[in-house]
C-alpha cells in the first residue's frame, strides 16, 4: 500500500496505518535529524516534534509525497533549532568555501593493516568530515542519502532551486572525496 493511501487511512482513524508508515520513516528521519544537529542531545526531542507537527497538520495534507513532506517538516524544525540554540551562523550557506575539510576533521591518514579497522576508520572520517560540512551542504547530502528524494524534491524540502541543491551536493562530494582518497576499495 502506498504512503498516500496509508496516510489517508490514518487520517480516517486507522491507527494501524500510521504504525506502518511510522515504521517506514522512523529510522531515516531520526538519522537525518541526529546527524544534521551533530548528535545533539535534543535529537530525540526534535524527532518527536517532527512527528507531532505532522500529526497536527494531517488535515492539510493529502498524503502525496509523504516522504518529502516529512523531511520538509524535519528540515524546518532543524532550522528553528539552529536559530534558537545560537547556531544560526552555521545556517549561512558557504557553498564557495573551499577550506580543507580533511584538515578541519583532524584526519591523520593513518591506515590500519586490518581491513575491518581500515573500513571503520574510513567511516569515522566520513562522519567527522560530514559534521564539518556547512549546514546547507550537509543538509543536501543527508536528505539525499536518508530520504532517497530526487533533486527536485530536495529542492522543495529545502525551499531552494534544483540547481542550488545540485551545486551543494557537488561541493559536499568534493570535500568528502578529498578526505577519503585513501579509502578506495
Amino acid at each position: 500500500m502506498s504512503d498516500a493511501a496509508l496516510w489517508q487511512r490514518y487520517c480516517a482513524g486507522d491507527t494501524a496505518a500510521f504504525d506502518r508508515l511510522y515504521q517506514r520513516f522512523r529510522s531515516p528521519l531520526y538519522r537525518y535529524l541526529r546527524r544534521q544537529c551533530g548528535d545533539c542531545a535534543e535529537s530525540e526531542e526534535l524527532y518527536q516534534d517532527v512527528w507531532l507537527n505532522a500529526v497536527r497538520a494531517r488535515d492539510r495534507f493529502d498524503g502525496e509525497h509523504l516522504q518529502a513532506w516529512l523531511f520538509r517538516i524535519a528540515h524546518n524544525r532543524l532550522i528553528d533549532y539552529y536559530r534558537s540554540s545560537g547556531r544560526a551562523a552555521e545556517l549561512v550557506s558557504d557553498d564557495q568555501d573551499v577550506d580543507d575539510i580533511a584538515s578541519q576533521a583532524g584526519l591523520s591518514g593513518d591506515e590500519s593493516p586490518d581491513r575491518w579497522s581500515f573500513l571503520r576508520d574510513c567511516v569515522e572520517r566520513l562522519f567527522a568530515m560530514l559534521e564539518a560540512l556547512p549546514f546547507a551542504q550537509r543538509d543536501a547530502f543527508l536528505l539525499k542519502e536518508e530520504s532517497g528524494l530526487s533533486l527536485e524534491q530536495i529542492a522543495e524540502v529545502s525551499a531552494t532551486s534544483r540547481e542550488t541543491v545540485k551545486s551543494r551536493l557537488r561541493y559536499a562530494m568534493q570535500r568528502l572525496r578529498s578526505g577519503l582518497e585513501d579509502c578506495d576499495e
Binding site: 482513524g13 491507527t15 529510522s27 567511516v123 542519502e145 579509502c183
Partner: protein, 207 residues
C-alpha cells in the same frame, strides 16, 4: 564533478543506523493514535434527562410522604398543602393505643410498689432494709416522679378531702403539698395544711 558518489554513499550506509528510542516510539504513536481517536459525541440530552429524573424522584418522594401522612384512605392528598405544618401528634392507631394502655398499667404497678415500700420503710424506720445499690438511684427518681403526680392530685382535692388524705402520711409529703400550695399562691390553704401537719405529728408521736 558528479553530485553522487557511490563509494561515499556505501561508506555512509556502512555505519549502523541510529534509531529513535523506544520512549520516542511510544510517545509518537500514542500521540498519533490519540489524535484520530473518535471523540465521544456530546450528550445533549444528558442534562434534560438528569433534570427530569430529579423531578420525577422528588415527586415520588413527596407522593409517598403524603400517602404515609394521610389520616384515612380516600383523602385527596394532592389537594392538601404539601408544606403545611404537621398537625400535633395524635395516637390513633391501635398499636399506639395499646402502647398507651400498657404504659398506664406499668405506671400504676410501679406506683403501688413504691407506695408499699414506703409504708414498709415507715414501719421499719429504725432498721431500714438494705436496698441494692443498683436500684437506689432509679427508685428515688421514680419516687420523686410519682410524688409529684400525687401532690398534683392532692392539690386538686377539696381542703377537707386533702387533709383527711394526708392524715398519717409521711411528713415529707405534707411539706411538698405545703410548698405546692405556696407556689400556687394559696397561702391560706398552705397555712392550714401546715397547722394540720403539726397536729398530725403530735398525734403520731403520742401514739
Amino acid at each position: 564533478m558528479s553530485e553522487h558518489d557511490e563509494r561515499i554513499s556505501r561508506l555512509y550506509h556502512t555505519r549502523d543506523g541510529a534509531s529513535p528510542s523506544a520512549l520516542s516510539d511510544a510517545f509518537v504513536k500514542r500521540a498519533a493514535h490519540a489524535a484520530v481517536k473518535p471523540k465521544r459525541p456530546a450528550l445533549r440530552w444528558a442534562a434534560p434527562l438528569a433534570m427530569a429524573a430529579t423531578v420525577l424522584l422528588s415527586l415520588g418522594v413527596l407522593l409517598r410522604v403524603g400517602i404515609e401522612r394521610s389520616p384515612a384512605p380516600g383523602v385527596d392528598i394532592m389537594s392538601a398543602p404539601v408544606m403545611a405544618p404537621a398537625p400535633a401528634p395524635q395516637i390513633v392507631s391501635p398499636e399506639a393505643d395499646e402502647s398507651a394502655r400498657r404504659f398506664q398499667t406499668e405506671r400504676a404497678v410501679r406506683e403501688r410498689m413504691v407506695h408499699e415500700r414506703r409504708s414498709e420503710g415507715l414501719k421499719q424506720k429504725t432498721a431500714p432494709a438494705p436496698k441494692p445499690a443498683t436500684l437506689a438511684a432509679p427508685e428515688s427518681v421514680l419516687r420523686m416522679e410519682l410524688e409529684d403526680v400525687r401532690v398534683a392530685e392532692l392539690m386538686s382535692l377539696e381542703m377537707s378531702d386533702l387533709l383527711s388524705t394526708l392524715e398519717g402520711a409521711d411528713p415529707a409529703l405534707w411539706e411538698r403539698v405545703i410548698e405546692a400550695l405556696e407556689r400556687a399562691g394559696r397561702t391560706r390553704d398552705s397555712a392550714r395544711v401546715r397547722q394540720q401537719m403539726y397536729q398530725d405529728t403530735l398525734r403520731k408521736s403520742a401514739r
